[in-house]
Symmetry: C2
Subunit: 328 residues, 2 copies
Amino acid sequence: MSPTAYYVGLDVGGTSMKASVVDETGNAARSVSLPTEAFKGQELGLARMAEVIRRAIASAGRQQRDIAGIGVATPGTMDIPAGVILDPPNLRPWQNVPVRHYIQETFGIPTTFQNDANAAALGEFWVGAGREVRSLVMFTLGTGIGGGIILFDRVVEGKHSHGAEIGHMKIEMTNPRQCGCGRWGCLEAYASATAVVKRAREALAADKVSSRLQEVVSQTDAELTARAVFETAAAGDALAAKLVDETAYYLAVGAMNMMHIIDPEMVVFGGGMIAAGETFLNRIRGYVRQMAFPVLAEHTQIRYAQLGSDAGFIGAAACARLLVNGKL
Amino acid sequence: MSPTAYYVGLDVGGTSMKASVVDETGNAARSVSLPTEAFKGQELGLARMAEVIRRAIASAGRQQRDIAGIGVATPGTMDIPAGVILDPPNLRPWQNVPVRHYIQETFGIPTTFQNDANAAALGEFWVGAGREVRSLVMFTLGTGIGGGIILFDRVVEGKHSHGAEIGHMKIEMTNPRQCGCGRWGCLEAYASATAVVKRAREALAADKVSSRLQEVVSQTDAELTARAVFETAAAGDALAAKLVDETAYYLAVGAMNMMHIIDPEMVVFGGGMIAAGETFLNRIRGYVRQMAFPVLAEHTQIRYAQLGSDAGFIGAAACARLLVNGKL
């Protein structure tokens, strides 16, 4: 492999799409971004993907002929081997969008396609929190809970492109919360940012104890966020602290289950919620130590992600690199 | 690969150890068995492993020089890469037994070592229920619940030899049953044969409804077994039927979780409990269809294992084959 091989990673999100040129060692040039505006339709969406790729190449001072491969990551339901977005909730009204074929034909460059949470996990594995381990499971904590599993230097895509939907492992049977997906008792229904807010509202409605969260709710006109819950807990509020502690417990259940199922070298937490900081991570670690098999409790590394919102396009580039190297 | 390559698979259990010569296509010669008698100590145990391997080779009409590789599978805690049994509950008082080294030195033949449930999964993948799929998750239903995961043609051993301890995924937080492992809410605490019996006893103690299970208990001097519960249910007893139905539900939760996490092409159930037959499997399938993501509910195959108690030594031989072919 030439030391001067370059890849383009493109991460298409509900709000914006970001692309960057990434070299063989995982160094990413400054990324270029355009609004996704899915509502304008998928033809425009595909054209815009091509445009942001072109701009990323130009911005990095490269030319198309320098690019060995392109990787595209998107959210939502998909057929990964076919390279098609099927019916993504975050990209309405797109349906059956032949992303990989379009990009590959447009540029004449080998192109690969991946789920965005899987790509983020591969990015962290390549040059992020997991760069020194051989296997990892990543939880992406946001509105929902996404995930990615890297084993044997590969992404666990699953037979039906549903690999690592780890937010939808069922962790409660007796008194399950309903998840955004419609199912009952999913991890996501307990520990996503959405779930934190929902649990906070329930606690405020039920609890007679006064909490600064009530002020938050009244001040910001019901704009209660997970971040506000974490900040209020950090400021010493007992109810908020309880909500944060329970969230750490739920995430520890998720982490422990993945440790008992996959036994990865590292569990990585990424996404907006890791703004909660090291204290929160240590609570998760504490519960894992209490609950997991002793060997795993002692040895499995539990870390925060390091690449932030760059993980998606870096991981997409990593997918392109695997493709070009014949390892996909 | 020569069509005449032969491997020896050895499956060491708590009661007996079984070995067989297996050819390149997965055909196994009639197996040879000796009692394990772990209580006699690990030196005798190792010598007996060598003896049963010798007898298996002789019984198959082969000679040592015909054998390309040996695979040994054992239960309990282990260090798979080191080839060492650590502290196996079913093989007391063995501790830190260097199985792979001993067998390899004794025969001068490349030897590999694996967890028995992992080996069984690889056996089913090679020539059993999963012989036409590319990935599978297997649940082994017995006194406990073991498991094996086959992905990318490899066994998911885990970083700390704890891969596929899927009986110990936590599926209940509010009102968890205690598991034999000491933890709370593990799948095994709900759906193992031991758990079925425990739940039956609780139901008999709590329920005012008369059940033929009461006769079973009185007739057999409290020798209530999971098999008796399934048979009593098949004979039309309502309480036993409820216990069986709940067991199917718990196993469906486990299967669904693995489908959402790994998204394998097939989920396989093996072990003694599959004597319950096709009706029980269809109940599991029914609950999976109700609970899993639609694409997975529709497409993921859910089957019973086909190799019975031969899966362990066939899978151990499959491990040896991977070793010899440089794929471990």
